[in-house]
Structure formats: C-alpha cells, structure tokens
Symmetry: C2
Subunit: 111 residues, 2 copies
C-alpha cells in the first residue's frame, strides 16, 4: 500500500494524543497508578478515566483495582498486545517520516 493511504489508516485508538501519551508512558513503566498517570499527562480525571476505559475495552491495558491499606488504588499496565501495538505505532510513524522525506510525485498532476 502507498505511503499516504497507509498514513490515513493509522490506528486512531493509539494515535490520539492523550492515548499516545498514556501508552508511551506505560511502555516505560512496569505499571503505573491512575494518579501517577494523571500528573504525568496533565489530563483531567474524567478524561483520563474514559481514555483508559477505551484502552481497556480494546485489550491494550490491564486495569487492576485494589486497596492499598484502606485507600483504593487503580493500577494500569500494558497488555502484551498493547506493548506490541504502541511500539509498532511509533515504528511506523518513524518509517513514514523517513519515507515521506524522500517521496516525490511521479505524475504530471502536479505543477
């Protein structure tokens, strides 16, 4: 498939800025708390919560709710496929950037 068609078909679940940040952060932690992720990304709680729900529904993350002492704690980590997906996403972006640099139109539809 051509570079630009491929570009239009980038996975929006991962490409969306907030989720890209979440997934990229998680790729560098064994796991992270909700609160830690919130301060890291600066997202509002509501916003973070709904992004995490989406990622969870897509099987990208594991979400474990428990209690640390008496305080509820939500711990998030990447699933295996989530880790593969975010790594592949960044790799594809990088490849596209490089391909784009050398791409030239072939036809005379261009001026």
């Amino acid at each position: 498939m051509s570079l630009f068609k491929e570009m239009t078909e980038l996975d929006k679940l991962l490409h969306e800025p907030a989720r890209l940040a979440i997934m990229t952060a998680l790729a560098n932690c064994e796991s992270a708390d909700f609160t830690f992720l919130q301060s890291l990304t600066g997202l509002s709680k509501g916003n973070l919560s709904s992004h995490l729900t989406k990622l969870d529904e897509a099987g990208m993350v594991f979400i474990i709710k428990s209690f640390v002492g008496k305080i509820p704690n939500t711990n998030i980590s990447l699933s295996g496929s989530g880790e593969d997906a975010i790594n592949a996403h960044w790799k594809r972006l990088d490849e596209m950037r490089k391909e784009a640099k050398i791409w030239k139109p072939e036809t005379e539809s261009t001026v």
Copy 2:
C-alpha cells in the same frame, strides 16, 4: 513542559491521520490537484473536501479553483505557515519518540 503533557497537546488539526497524509503529501509537491490528492490518499471526495476546508480555514493551505479548458480544477498548495507547521509537527514527533525511548519514571508510584 514534560514530555507526556506535550504529547497530549499535539496539534490535532495536523495530527489527524487524513490531514497528516494530505499535509505531508503537499509538503513534497509544489501543488496538487484535488483528484491527485484523492487518488494518493484514497480518501472519499466528501471526506477530502471537508479536510481541505478545515486546513484552508486554518490558513494551512491555499486552494485555487479554476478551469483547465472547460473542466473545473481545484489546486491545493501549502501556505508558508502550513509548511512550517507540518515540518515542525514531524520534527516534534521524532523528538518525542527519541525522548520517550530513554525516559524512566523517577518516583515510586510505579512498581
């Protein structure tokens, strides 16, 4: 600003896959026809049209409608700020990718 906050704040106008493709293609042409862009990206006409309208409203592209003989022709090219913006966007993505690779959490919020 921290890496991940910056990531959540990526410009969505440019980051959206279809527009990323359009802008990246245009960055490598002097200009391109509507039809050429359509075949390049595989977008539907309606979809391409509305993305171009958004880019135009944001001052990212110039859109010139004319006639080539009797056939109407819509020609699209990057504005100066559009060119700067798409180049900067790719550059930031690349920087983020590199920064992300070496980033490690500092706190013990992580396991």
